[in-house]
Amino acid sequence: MKLSTSHLLGIKDLTKEDIELILSTAQQFKDVLQRPVKKVPSLRDITIVNLFYENSTRTRMSFELAERRLSADTLNFAASTSSAAKGETLLDTVNNILSMKVDMVVMRHSASGAPHFLAKHIPAAIINAGDGINEHPTQGLLDAFSMIEKKGSLEGLKVAIIGDIMHSRVAQSNIYLLNKMGAEIMVAGPPTLIPKYIKEAHGVRVEYDVMKALEWCDVANVLRIQLERQNQPLFSSLREYNLAYGIKRSMLDKLKKEIVIMHPGPINRGVELDSDVADGPHSIILNQVENGVAVRMAALYLLSPKSN
């Protein structure tokens, strides 16, 4: 089995079969990760560069770990401490790295479409680790993996994505993926943080009352308020955000059902999520992190020159 694409730029470009293939491969890798010897030789002699033009802790570590578990050689690049800080262009940087015989590129970048630009100009396989406010495909995949693990299937599953939809590449990748897999989607949050045309673009439900969203859903994927990506004030204060849109334990207690709480991290505790929710029984946040490694192993493996 092969993917229909040679890069992982976004969930937008994947077929349902591609998604199923990545998720089933991830399940195999997850089984591997439970063993005493967690390393497999699948990507021996493959060199992968992790290009991070934006700060990252868990995604970068998750990719790096996935690469090492697959026995790949890894190179790390952080824009703030590199030639990018000296004004080198993205294309120059990547071409220089590829000259050193690197096979695959994992890239995070603050500009939407940056990996798509790179894919047009370089021969190596590219995995998007987050581009601007566009997509974060491996997060979408690991969220799906975690939802399936908890709920059995995505078909007909009611997923509410809550919070800063506007600046969230996680939301976009989740929406593309869940739509392809037959889930029902609602986005909820303050109107200033919900793209005006999201209903027309993705056929999702839009709700401004978070309690109603919680009542509707089986899974609530709560997003981080992306203060770093907001160039202008879109709500009045973090305090008010928490009052109006934060998920509190008392809200979950009022529901007549058990729902699953997810969050891509890092959490702004006391803003979008109160600590007793983040750490409470509904939360599968740490499972998401665990699954991230397996999902990234699957993506790397399926896109590597060894599989193609």
Partner: protein, 421 residues
């Protein structure tokens, strides 16, 4: 020197020969004779009864970047691109370095353009350094040869300042050109806000940002009773406002670009930086409405918004790419490809006559005794611009390598000629 245009269809609604096939004799830059059959010239250009002679075309909004950004374009390369595109007159933006905001800068362009193939008319800045804070010396610039006034790519945001500018230029019958964008709306936008921007994860510029500015500036023009020209208009609502202003007798006119008529936001699927322009490419419906506005006469002129950029400004991440594409050389063919039923008269009107009226340029009538200022074109030839054939210094055009219908044969102006290969 005598040049004879053999068997050319005259496309000038003001001429008694309009629509007829004639021979035109040009001697030392003057149209000396128009008749059914003329002989005895040193040089003959056979047009076979299928090519049109229009009054020389005028581009009302092009950036030649000279001085300051000569690595993008110079007055020389810009003029060469204009000639290849059939333009005999070009109004160039003040967004140079230094900005064209005083007499010295206007004179630089006027003097330096004298020997060039086409007539270059500087647009003077409305405000000092195009910063939108203080009025520039528009009277002095007008006296030195500035043809109209605009802050170019940095439209005047303050209503108070804009109304003063509109009032101020009345003293010398001036026109203010505005790209209608309210920059407080969709300030960080990179493309049209809509379904496509949502799908592509790019911040959007809503149509509202333009429509608010059009509505506002029309009110200001009414108050000032002055001349206002909008360029790069893109939305149906804007055209509705402009149409109503015209019906009310206001001196409001507008122009659109060939790229807004040819492309829409759906073409941005691959994040093609050459399609990053300002105002942004709008939706497909907007694009179709734009074509309709050209056909029904709401649009007065075609403006290329020729914005050359060096390689590195476009071969980069979409967010970091500069706005704009080159357009002079593909303008007519792009328009003719999407609107093949435009009559030659409509082409002359859109490319020349209206702009000449609005900006007080010489009439360029195709008539015996007049100075020859003529563009020759046909609608059945082909145009295919490539990186090798472009005369512009830059290659940032989404029209590159596209096969377009319609061809500019050449121009006659300034007692000279330029014929395309």
């Amino acid at each position: 020197m005598k040049i004879l245009l053999k068997q050319v269809i005259i496309a000038d609604p003001r001429s008694p020969h309009n629509g007829t096939v004639k021979d035109i004799l040009i001697a030392d830059g003057i149209i000396t004779k128009i008749a059914g059959e003329i002989d005895g010239a040193e040089e003959v250009l056979h047009c076979g009864g299928t090519s049109f002679a229009s009054p020389g075309w005028v581009d009302v909004f092009a950036n030649f970047n000279d001085p300051g950004f000569e690595y993008k374009e110079t007055l020389e390369t810009g003029a060469a691109a204009a000639a290849a595109g059939g333009y005999t007159n070009v109004l160039v933006l003040p967004n140079t370095n230094p900005v064209v905001h005083n007499k010295t800068q206007v004179e630089y362009i006027v003097q330096k353009s004298k020997g060039l193939a086409v007539n270059i008319h500087p647009l003077g800045a409305v405000t000092k350094a195009c910063e939108g804070k203080e009025l520039a010396e528009m009277y002095d610039m007008y006296s030195s040869g500035a043809c109209a006034f605009s802050d170019g790519n940095y439209p005047v945001q303050s209503a108070g300042l804009m109304v003063k500018a509109l009032q101020y230029v009345k003293a010398f019958n001036g026109v203010v050109i505005q790209v209608p964008v309210d920059k407080t709306i969709g300030q960080f936008g990179l493309m049209h806000e809509g379904i496509m921007s949502t799908k592509l994860g790019l911040p959007g510029v809503p149509a509202l940002a333009e429509e608010l500015m059009v509505a506002r500036d029309i009110k200001l023009a009414r108050y000032a009773d002055s001349k206002l020209h909008f360029t790069g208009v893109t939305t149906p609502k804007s055209f509705e406002y402009i149409r109503r202003a015209k019906e009310a007798g206001l001196q409001v006119t507008c122009s659109v670009t060939p790229h807004h008529l040819f492309f829409c936001d759906e073409d941005l699927l691959e994040y093609d930086c050459n399609l990053k322009v300002n105002p942004p490419l709008r939706s497909k419906e907007d694009m179709m409405a734009l074509r309709e506005a050209v056909l029904n006469g709401t649009v007065d002129c075609i403006a290329t918004h020729h914005m050359p950029h060096e390689w590195d400004s476009k071969i980069c991440e979409f967010e970091y790419a500069k706005n704009g594409m080159t357009g002079l050389e593909t303008s007519y063919a792009a328009l003719n490809t999407v609107l093949p039923n435009l009559s030659a008269e409509q082409v002359s009107t859109l490319f020349s006559l209206n702009a000449r009226k609005i900006f007080n340029l010489p009439a360029a009538e195709i008539k015996e005794g007049e100075t020859a200022d003529i563009t020759l074109f046909n609608n059945d030839g082909d145009t295919q611009l490539t990186n090798e054939t472009t005369k512009s210094r830059s290659v940032n055009s989404a029209f590159m390598n596209k096969m377009l219908k319609g061809k500019v044969i050449g121009i006659f102006t300034k007692a000279n000629k330029f014929i395309n290969p």
